[in-house]
């Protein structure tokens, strides 16, 4: 198993922490992982992205130009990364704020209304966990029990009371993902 993922959106959406939780979940499952952020003068409202790789074997390059999965959370990222999904790969996006929807016919395309769902849950900070749930529904590469362990490792202990809420958000994401195009 080797899964190469790009998660891209606005700073403040929880892109980097979602990647971190996914990477930690991989460690809990005994996988090799890398987490490589775009770093620089990004801030809330600017763009942020992270490349996460999970693999059964030692990982070589942490920098990639093609991905098995792209998780896209704003228009700039759609413009940049739609064409970097491998043929037969997966693109998941939140249509909120997207003006040009994905066009490709050679990849699977799914949407998740994570803004609405996290608002319904009453916690907009659970946004990234809704997206993570949607992803894990399509690619169950880590078991839920290890995701919870990964959450515990990624979140400071003083916030561990929030883990059940995060788990609910992941479940909601799994339920609500919509497949728009299959190959």
């Amino acid at each position: 198993m080797k899964e190469e993922i790009i998660i891209a959106g606005f700073g403040g959406q929880g892109v980097l922490s979602m990647g971190k939780i996914l990477a930690y979940s991989g460690i809990m499952q005994g996988q090799e992982v890398t987490w490589m952020p775009s770093y620089g003068p990004e801030m809330r409202g600017g763009t942020a992205n992270v490349t996460v790789i999970l693999s059964d074997k030692k990982i070589s390059s942490p920098i990639l130009s093609q991905f098995d999965t792209a998780i896209i959370l704003n228009q700039q990222s759609m413009d940049k990364f739609e064409n970097q999904v491998k043929q037969g790969g997966l693109l998941i996006y939140d249509p909120n704020g997207i003006t040009r929807h994905p066009q490709r016919k050679d990849i699977t395309i799914c949407s998740i209304d994570a803004v609405d769902i996290s608002a319904e849950l009453g916690n907009s900070k659970a946004y990234n966990m809704v997206v993570l749930g949607a992803y894990l529904k399509k690619k169950p590469i880590v078991e839920m029990v290890n995701v919870i362990k990964g959450l515990k490792k990624s979140i400071p202990e003083r916030h561990h009371s929030l883990i059940p809420m995060n788990e609910t958000a992941i479940q909601k994401g799994m339920e609500k993902i919509t497949e728009l195009h299959t190959i």
């Binding site: 971190k20 460690i27 992982v33 890398t34 070589s60 390059s61 942490p62 920098i63």
Partner: protein, 359 residues
């Protein structure tokens, strides 16, 4: 089973310093290595191991704090990124001249000048060919993972005290910022003052009636004395070249061509090797782990089986000069590099490689 922690290369440097008996860290913040001091400040090792963590007023100051700490036989270190390292070069030359051990981490960004905060490897010359003045060398370690960032702090101190010399860990923005799983090795406690007094007769541990006055300096106004010091330094560098060359080979056994790359570029080129192998091209990768001493002998050993060698760097071509010296004109030595903080993908390196071999 060992416990694995997900951490950035920069965080691994900090955690490793605390766990490997480092006595003092002196630094000044700069991207992309600020997490080193941030992590130390969060961990508060002065409350546990007694390690000192101090933010100096500048890089010039922090390197001279290393001179002071190292003179006392303490395990001291600093970290910075390219422009900060330039400010430290005078101090590095003094530390080398006075034969003092320390570990200096450079998480390289694109230069010259203030440059960019994105990754670079343009400080190879500065690290391996001097930087500071005079005929000195440092052991230069090039980690390519968060685990090696962790491990090389300990290895760096071992080598620094073996040779009584500054050791540089030459990382880059990718290795510093990337998170990977890191295995925490067993803790090494700090040395006690008694242990230091007993082990390091050269250290300035205080004049007692039974002890001669001890002055640590790089100054020798008598030319004959100074030449002797220089010869002593040179014999240490010869010893490093025989005893402490480190490298890693990947798919080199049957290779017709090899890429030489270090740090993050070695990770990227490993993937390039796989792309080439999938198309039936026998490409291998040689990764120098010590940039000084350079794996010259290993390259020379491989030359008879090879058609070409390509050096791949985030620079305009620096390590390639050491590759050319090793190859000595016997086979073509090619080069591919990106500048200004751009990091190429494995595919981009592969295209550049194919272009060169099909010329």
């Amino acid at each position: 089973m060992a416990e694995f922690i997900l951490m950035k290369g920069n965080e691994a440097i900090a955690i490793s310093a605390i766990r490997n008996g480092c006595d003092g860290y002196f630094g000044y913040p700069i991207t992309p290595q600020s997490e080193v001091m941030e992590t130390l400040m969060v961990e508060r090792p002065w409350e546990t191991t007694g390690m000192v963590v101090l933010q100096a007023e500048s890089e010039t100051s922090s390197i001279n704090m290393l001179y002071g700490g190292a003179s006392c036989g303490k395990k001291v270190m600093t970290s910075s990124s390219s422009p900060g390292l330039s400010l430290m070069c005078e101090g590095l030359s003094y530390l080398a001249g006075a034969e003092l051990p320390c570990v200096v981490v450079n998480v390289v960004r694109g230069g010259p000048g203030l440059g960019t905060i994105q990754p670079g490897q343009g400080d190879y010359f500065q690290a391996c060919k001097g930087g500071g003045h005079g005929d000195y060398k440092m052991v230069v370690l090039a980690p390519n993972s968060a685990q090696e960032m962790y491990d090389f702090v300990d290895l760096g101190f071992d080598l620094a005290f073996k040779y009584l010399t500054p050791v540089m860990i030459l990382a880059d923005g990718v290795v510093g910022q990337m998170m990977e799983k890191v295995e925490l090795r067993p803790v090494k406690p700090r040395w006690s003052d008694e242990e230091i007094k007993k082990s390091f007769k050269w250290a300035t541990t205080g004049k007692t009636p039974d002890r001669e006055q001890n002055v640590l300096t790089s100054l020798a106004l008598d030319a004959a004395v100074h030449e002797r010091l220089n010869h002593k330094l040179q014999s240490k560098y010869k010893q490093m070249e025989t005893e402490d060359v480190r490298f890693e080979s990947y798919m080199c056994e049957d290779a017709d061509h090899i890429i030489v790359a270090y740090g993050c570029m070695a990770r990227i080129c490993e993937n390039t090797v796989e792309l080439a192998r999938n198309e039936g091209i026998k490409l291998g990768l040689l990764r120098p782990i010590t940039l000084y001493p350079f794996p010259t002998t290993e390259i020379q050993r491989m030359v008879p089986q090879l058609k070409t060698i390509m050096s791949v760097e985030l620079s305009a071509g620096q390590m390639v000069e050491d590759v050319r010296l090793a190859v000595n004109g016997k086979i073509p030595v090619n080069f591919f590099g990106r500048l200004g903080g751009i990091v190429p993908s494995p595919h981009e390196v592969y295209e550049a490689f194919k272009k060169e071999i099909n010329k």
